[in-house]
Amino acid sequence: MPSYRELLQQTKAEVEEVDARGARELAGAVWVDVRRHDEWDEGYIPGAIHIPRGSLESRIESRVPDRSTPVVLYCASGERSAFAAKTLAELGYERPVSLVGGIVDWKRNGYEIEVPKTLSPERRARYSRHLLIPEIGEEGQLKLLDAKILLLGAGGLGSPAALYLAAAGVGHIGIVDADIVDESNLQRQIVHSLNTLGTPKVDSAKRTIEALNPDVQVTTYRERLTSENIDSILDDGWDVVVDGADNFPTRYLLNDASVWRGVPVVHGSIYRFEGQVTVFKPGDGPCYRCLFPEPPPLELAPSCSEGGVLGVLPGIVGSLQTNEALKLALGIGDPLVGRLLLFDALATDFHEVRVNRNPSCPVCGEHPTITEYVDYVEFCAR
């Protein structure tokens, strides 16, 4: 039986080894770091992917599907990577090479390393169910922690959005709402409670979010959105806006500003038993004015306070909006761009209609005629 030293010598003799300079000259190579997680966390060679030695056989094919791609393997000193190179050769990779001296020599030669942004053990535990999903993983969770999502309204639609975005670890949530918590809100606005009756909704929502997840920073705007304040609010750099407004002037105002600024809006609206959800992504699909060029006359536009709403309906529609917002923040899946989803809670029926971009849209069309804020109250009262 060979000793470890003998086995290492034998393996090193069988595989191709290159020094740092030689490895850098290997055109089109994929660099694979085979060290443990804690070693990777201390710094890695820029551009490398991380596949710990123990998972190499099972994961290499999904990360490097083309076996003719040269693969530079490295560890700390060049021992584990020699065994890894042998394994890849056995798997049919045409040119696996082991970096002599590993990352230790790499650093000694003055080459750059990158220190990854990683999740603390506490965050790993909190977001473990996200980390298990390949489409999210640590990279996606870090994206969410960096994301900034603005909620327009902390009411029926904003409530589930606030809770689920906070639980998901969206690092910065903004909330715009001028109202205070009223008893009649508690039938559906689950971010508020008896304890916050009579307090501003933005403060009540902030309190609930902070009790749920201390990773989330909350910025509150206790005001109604107007053409006077919208620019300063959007200047805070929101990646996505979740629109749960309760009136047409605000929706048209938000639309125009978001088109001009290129900020995606996740739209939701509800009435009695029915809801609508869509995503307006500037440059990539229609805007709200393409869908509804004009607001309906007042008699066709009752609000929920006039017409009522099933308590769970904003929970469903607001959750659908949250799903879209998270997808946009993560850059995964197919958002509801150019598609309007209609939900009927009585029939439990989802129906989808297409929404096309209107080339003559006054805001996002080929020859826009509206290029600055208009009087939205007047526009909607016509």
Partner: protein
């Protein structure tokens, strides 16, 4: 007969019905038939020559304004949806 889904804000005009039936081989014929059967509903959607600007009419998931207009054919058993913008969310 084609089944037309009526949105909640227009149900009063349809006598409370969630859906109504109408016949017609084009969008125009269909809308004129609705005006004849249920004038209160029809007039909210159709002004006698065009679809009102604040209502969208979808035939098989496509907005008729951007897919053939009033003369677009409507097949038997098509799904027709009338849809004005909804007022809100709510706070």
């Amino acid at each position: 007969m084609t089944v037309i889904r009526v949105p909640p804000v227009l149900r009063e005009e349809a006598g409370g019905a969630r859906q109504v039936e109408a016949s017609g081989s084009t969008v125009r014929e269909l809308l004129e038939d609705i005006v004849g059967r249920l004038p209160a509903l029809g007039n909210k959607v159709y002004d006698g020559s065009d679809i009102r600007p604040y209502v969208n009419v979808y035939v098989d998931g496509e907005d008729v304004r951007t897919s053939g207009g009033l003369d677009a054919p409507v097949r038997e058993n098509a799904t027709v949806v009338l849809l004005p913008a909804m007022a809100g969310g709510e706070r």
